[in-house]
């Protein structure tokens, strides 16, 4: 199976006063082509730091991160902070294409096509982010991440801030786009039920370490670590 990302024995630490605090300890895993890999953990377990390390926003102390695709894109949790409030949606979606030096006419076409793909109307593309609902804003984020043709996406709690009915729509959209475009997604969430619905494989993280990784059905049926069991216990069926 082809891989899009390999993370080998990565450790990350922060300076805290005089000492250093280890937030990621000896992390190793891979993301395969065409899969949604779930990453689950509670606040402070290091899952956000891990995504920053993969994207190069955080320096690693040890280990190696190998990308087998063009640069990955990211979808963030807070749809308010992830879209520039002073720009119209179409401007935001065109910007990545401007970086690729694509001529104006072609850009407009691509934006319209991408908008259609994620379910945004031409009229919504002309609005400012604040004039859209949370679900619509998340659609914009998804479109922006995909418009340069990225094959690997990191999604950090992309549905956590949304109402359940909207949450479901966005989850369905992501699964649909994954299948249609053959994407690989690292899907970060604290919600095991969301993970169950979305992912092919799951990693459970605790205190900067990977507790276990298994295929989704196996993990939910036969959790190996006691921490995973504890997480599953607190879960409504």
């Amino acid at each position: 199976m082809k891989k899009v990302l390999e993370v080998k024995q990565v450790s990350v630490s922060y300076k805290e006063g005089k000492s250093r605090k280890e937030v990621l300890k000896d992390i190793s895993f891979e993301v395969r082509e065409n899969e949604i890999l779930g990453l689950v953990g509670e606040s402070g377990c290091g899952k956000s730091t891990l995504s920053k390390a993969i994207l190069g926003f955080v320096k690693t102390d040890e280990g190696e991160i190998v990308h087998h695709t063009e640069r990955p894109q990211m979808i963030f949790q807070d749809p308010f902070s992830s879209l520039n409030p002073s720009k119209r949606v179409e401007w935001i979606l065109e910007e990545p294409l401007r970086m690729q030096k694509i001529p104006k006419e072609r850009r407009k076409q691509k934006v319209l096509a991408m908008g259609e793909k994620v379910g945004l109307t031409t009229e919504q593309l002309r609005r400012y982010p604040r004039e859209l609902s949370g679900g619509q804003r998340q659609r914009v984020s998804i479109a922006a991440a995909l418009i340069q043709g990225a094959k690997f996406i990191i999604a950090d709690e992309p549905v956590s801030a949304l109402d359940v009915t909207i949450q479901k729509q966005i989850m369905e959209l992501m699964v649909h786009l994954q299948e249609e475009m053959g994407l690989s997604i690292l899907f970060i969430s604290h919600d095991l039920n969301v993970i169950y619905q979305m992912c092919d494989r799951v990693m459970v993280m605790k205190d900067g370490k990977i507790e276990e990784q298994q295929d989704t059905e196996d993990l939910f049926a036969h959790p190996k670590s006691s921490y995973t069991k504890l997480l599953l216990e607190g879960l409504p069926q």
Binding site: L55, F57, R71, P72, Q73, M74, F76, D78, S81, S82, L83, N84, P85, S86, K87, E95, P96, M99, Q100, S141, A144, A145, Q148
Partner: protein, 268 residues
Amino acid sequence: MKKKQKNYNLILGIFIALFMLLFLLAGLFYTPYDPDAMNGAAKFAAPGTEHLFGCDHFGRDILSRVMKGTGTTFFVAVSTVVLGGGIGILVGAFTGYFGGWVDEVLMRFNDVVFSFPHILLALVFIGVLGPGKYNVILALSVVFIPSFARITRGEFLAQKEMDYVKSARLMGVSHLRIMFVHIFPNTLPSVLSMAAIGFNNAVLAEAGMSYLGIGVQPPDASLGRMLSESQTYLMSAPWCAIFPGLCILLLALGFSLLSDGLLKKGGK
């Protein structure tokens, strides 16, 4: 019944500022008399139909002089804001966005400049450069850099942590483009209101310096200079002081209301 509150500060500010702008623009093309022409017969003429605002101790028409003087004061203030504000914004944007040792050095330097009273520092510069309109602009600009740098730096510090900036980085947008195309428009409400405050301070500082005789030099008319010249006749010919004073007041008030209004609008 409670209603949506109107932004009266902004409305009134725009109104006064526009009025003053028209007043001084008119002064560029037309004044009732030559502002520098002396007329012995009209010495200390009281306001009336012939001279609307009266005449000063040389018999010069005060309305004409106020029109020209407002223009000078406005020019000095705007130039100061553009020059000092421009440099301040650049310094603040770079230090806020990049951080690190450049930030440390520039901000400590900023603190040093900031710790002196504005007017005192401007006086030192004038002492070195000599008086005159352009030197006043230069001196005030230098003095204004720190406050602009500080505000802009704070905004950039907050904005650079937003996810949209990370997102732009991932898409391959350059740092410069992120700073000025992505982030800068979001800092406009505070920068504009800072510019209005700066404009105000510049008006008052120019008037103050000209009043002390180290600012704008004759024959240029300046509101501060007119005030300074009229103090001897304050009791006998109060109109010599009232009208230039009123203009300073309106200029300052208009732009301070404008900045309040802008802040309120931005805060929503």
